[in-house]
């Protein structure tokens, strides 16, 4: 018989040590697929470390990949805090990117100080709009937002495809379904020369700090948490539940939209339908790993990005199928989840159907 009991007071050693230990365990588990594919294990881990810390380039690449994850992780965090299950960050990301190219590809000209805020605002608004629909359907009709946001991801992606073959199509694109490039003045500048890392990271970190302050220090944050934890009681206490939910939805969508702006204006330059390899979904994982804490999102995003970039580079160096990277990320996720659990609970196993004697010392 298995019993799960909360730890009385999880020690600091445990709360910090166990997640690290479980991440390590995940990396050790990667040895199984590696050895099956016939790679030299020791060398593989070296290559993996090199892929993350081996050079300034590697490190900035890791940060570059973490940037959109911070945004989508924050998007999930804010929505989930209000128990609004936004699975649609992927679609909202694309809406943000689409707004950025709709505004930033030439018909408005101006200095970067004007254009960059403009595309950021446009992208945030588009993302917010993408979440407003599901939030409205939920508050008005009770339509489950997991489903509506999930389905909207498909609809939005197809819609973007349509736009890219229609009004947004790059006239210079030789017929390819891609948008015109973002003008130079709207591009998020690079942080280091010759590296892809761009100021999207700075915006993402700023957003994380603001989200942290808003959640823990503002009245709005308190309302949001109240609605998320117990909507009935929040309503009873005079909090505008629908309004709070809607504001959480809009901000969540806006953050996902910013991920799209950052990717398109910081990295790719123009919009295609393969802008995101599932950042919206990974953002959910990031948020939950972070325990729905905005500052934790930064760490979780860095962790996921490191594992992915490291494993991806390693797979290339070792000549192992590059699907290894996703495999290692998912194993890391599962291990960290279990590890986080062990930090909070103890698992007691007592033999089933034990007959307890009539003495006082029955069971443990």
């Amino acid at each position: 018989m298995i019993r799960i009991e909360p730890r009385e007071a999880p020690s600091r050693r445990l709360t910090v040590g166990i997640p690290i230990a479980s991440a390590m365990l995940a990396l050790l588990l990667a040895a199984i697929p590696l050895s099956w594919a016939g790679a030299n294990i020791g060398e593989a881990y070296q290559e993996m470390a090199k892929g993350i810390f081996g050079s300034v380039f590697a490190f900035t690449e890791m940060l570059t990949r973490a940037t959109p994850l911070i945004f989508t992780g924050l998007a999930a965090t804010l929505a989930f805090r209000a128990k609004l299950w936004n699975i649609g960050a992927e679609g909202q990301l694309y809406l943000g990117a689409m707004a950025a190219v709709a505004v930033g590809t030439g018909w408005i000209t101006g200095p970067p100080l004007l254009l960059i805020p403009m595309i950021l605002i446009a992208g945030a608004m588009a993302g917010a709009l993408g979440m407003a629909g599901p939030a409205y359907l939920k508050t008005r009709f009770g339509a489950d937002e997991v489903v509506t946001t999930l389905l909207l991801n498909f609809i939005i992606l197809i819609f973007i495809q349509m736009m890219l073959e229609g009004p947004l199509k790059d006239p210079m694109g030789m017929g390819w379904p891609q948008s015109s490039p973002v003008v130079d003045n709207a591009i998020l500048p690079q942080i280091l020369p010759r590296m892809r890392l761009h100021y999207g990271l700075v915006i993402a970190l700023t957003a994380a700090v603001i989200a942290h302050i808003m959640l823990s220090k503002s009245v709005w944050g308190l309302k949001l948490r109240a609605v998320g934890e117990n909507a009935a009681a929040a309503l009873h206490a005079g909090i505008g539940v629908k309004r709070t939910l809607m504001s959480a939805a809009l901000i969540s969508g806006a953050l996902a939209g910013l991920a799209g702006v950052s990717e398109v204006a910081g990295l790719r330059g123009y919009l295609t339908t393969d802008l995101s390899p599932g950042y919206g979904y990974t953002g959910i994982v990031v948020a939950m790993l972070a325990g729905l804490s905005p500052l934790g999102v930064v760490l979780a995003a860095l962790f996921i990005a490191s594992v992915f970039v490291g494993a991806d580079t390693m797979s290339r160096a070792m000549g192992v199928s590059s699907y290894l990277a996703d495999l290692v990320v998912s194993m890391a996720l599962i291990c960290v989840l279990i590890g986080g659990f062990i930090a909070r609970f103890t698992i007691k196993i007592t033999p089933a159907n034990k007959k307890v004697s009539t003495t006082d010392t029955g069971a443990a």
Partner: protein, 505 residues
């Protein structure tokens, strides 16, 4: 025959973290005996029974149960299945019914071979009908439980236990949600079954029924058994003293002259979830310095009325006036602003946000006040000071003001809500079942606070199913039946009970 021991709990102990819920509790139960288990909220009654039934694993101790021949044998701990097989039936404090199944499906759940291809309902139905006939516990068997009233659900719970041929029946606060009449019928039934050889342990906070129906009383305090007494030797005073360790204070009720009208319901109609709970042209006035008691069997429109006064539902016609000002918008926020303080019926569900701190819960109805916030940001220091002050003033005990509220005991949660309501000095207090499930100490605290508010000049509308409480606190008693109001003819329990049941109007 009556001396046969059918159950013996030996030195059972259980801790939850730092909370000692039970410490070396030893209790015996005889065949055909009705034992009542008393104690304050959190004394460990439910925990003890949960160990008996296998929900909880004791830290130490053992349990012996008599088999069909009457021989005591050790019970395998930690397995509800083992308890069921040993003939123990338990009616839990909170319903353990699947609301999406019919009553009979709930009764049969787990009793059939799980992997049978089909169900053989006929014999089972006959057996249930037989039990219903013998005990008088009737419930519509084919109705989905979600559609049953609380009284019906309670009966289904008991039928569930009896269907499994329980020889020992545990009832954890079975009457907390029943009307006096329903409770009386239930106990009459149980009495019959006890005479048939059924042994019963029942837990209750209502001393009147304990004294009327049990044979023996065991009292727990802070997890320990502090006394055992034959019912015939006991009275309310003795038991209270055993439970609390001191006498419970009774608040004196001064006669006051009433003030101006505070709450006026004028031709108020609301369409409720059922015809019975809809309100038809209600007229009622509650004056300052007055407690109006609203009696009635639950489901007759009290909740609908409470919802309107809380701002959760808008009337379909008619209106509500507070201090002669018609209410414009029916939202909780606007009624709060109009000076209505609410003690909600379901305190865990509507009253607090369990995952948030005590300090935050104390402030949650006054978020717009500049005491709490500045420019949209919380003033944490003020929040803390305010919480410290209130916990002291209202004696809210628990792991501290920064701890999650769900960790507080039921009585302390109610104190938190009282603190929040009374500190806002509301003109009108809507107290909906404010003492449900509270022990005598906690309940008397609520009564004291309501009387204090009346003293201060507030109007109080007290909705309760506990007639004793209404009789003790209210200046006037109004009875609700079928969505209509009736003025109580006097303070006669029987007369009021008849109107509640709709037999006199």
């Amino acid at each position: 025959m009556i001396n046969d021991t059918v159950l013996s709990l030996n030195k059972l102990s259980k801790r939850f973290g730092t909370v000692v819920a039970n410490e070396s509790v030893t209790i015996d139960l005889k065949r055909g005996e009705i034992l009542s288990l008393l104690g304050e909220n959190g004394a460990g009654k439910t925990t003890l029974m949960n160990m008996l039934f296998g929900h909880y694993m004791p830290d130490s101790g053992s349990i012996q149960v008599a088999d069909a021949e009457g021989n005591l044998a050790p019970l395998s701990l930690g397995h509800p299945q083992a308890a069921l097989n040993a003939g123990i039936g338990m009616v839990h404090q909170h319903f353990t019914l699947a609301e999406n199944l019919s009553a009979i499906d709930n009764i049969l759940l787990g009793s059939e071979n799980l992997f049978a291809w089909r169900r053989s309902m006929d014999t089972a139905r006959d057996k249930v009908k037989d039990i219903m006939q013998r005990t008088g516990l009737n419930a519509p068997l084919d109705t989905i439980v979600g559609k049953l009233s609380v009284g019906e659900r309670q009966r289904v719970e008991i039928l569930k236990a009896l269907y499994r041929d329980a020889r020992i029946l545990v009832l954890d606060e079975p009457t907390a949600v029943l009307t006096p009449q329903e409770a009386d019928t239930l106990f009459a039934n149980i009495d019959v079954m006890a005479k048939d050889g059924l042994s019963v342990i029942f837990i209750s906070h209502k001393l009147r029924e304990v004294l009327a129906f049990s044979h023996r009383i065991a009292v727990l305090r802070h997890g320990k058994k502090v006394g055992e007494i034959a019912t015939k030797d006991a009275d309310e005073k003795i038991i209270s003293r055993l439970m609390v360790g001191a006498d419970t204070p009774t608040s004196p009720r001064e006669t006051l002259s009433v003030g101006a009208p505070v709450l006026e319901l004028i031709d108020l109609s609301v369409t409720g979830i059922s015809a019975r709970s809809s309100l038809e042209q209600i007229n009622l006035t509650v004056y300052a310095s007055e407690i109006v008691g609203l009696a009635g069997i639950s489901g007759n429109g009290q909740s609908t009325l409470a919802q309107v006064i809380s701002g959760l539902t808008s009337p379909t016609s008619g209106r509500l006036e507070i201090d002669n000002q018609p209410v414009q918008k029916y939202t909780p926020a606007s009624l709060l602003k109009a000076g209505v303080g609410r003690i909600p019926e379901d305190r865990h569900h509507d009253g607090i946000i369990g995952a948030m701190s005590v300090a935050e819960n104390l402030a949650i109805e006054s978020l717009d006040s500049s005491d709490i916030q500045k420019n949209g940001f919380l003033r944490h220091q003020k929040l803390k000071l305010n919480a410290q002050h209130l916990s002291q003033k209202y004696d809210i005990r628990g792991p501290g003001i920064e701890a999650e509220t769900r960790l507080l005991s039921g009585g302390n949660i109610q104190k938190l809500i009282l603190a929040r309501v009374f500190e806002a000095s509301p003109r009108l207090i809507l107290a909906n079942q404010p003492t449900r499930g509270l022990d005598v100490g906690a309940a008397s605290e609520v009564g004291k606070r309501l009387l204090q508010a009346r003293q201060r000049g507030a109007a109080v509308l007290l909705i309760s199913e506990d007639l004793d409480e209404l009789l003790a606190l209210a200046d006037r008693i109004i009875i609700m039946h079928n969505g209509e109001l009736h003025v109580a003819p006097g303070r006669d329990r029987a007369q009021i009970g008849l109107i509640m049941a709709g037999e006199v109007s």
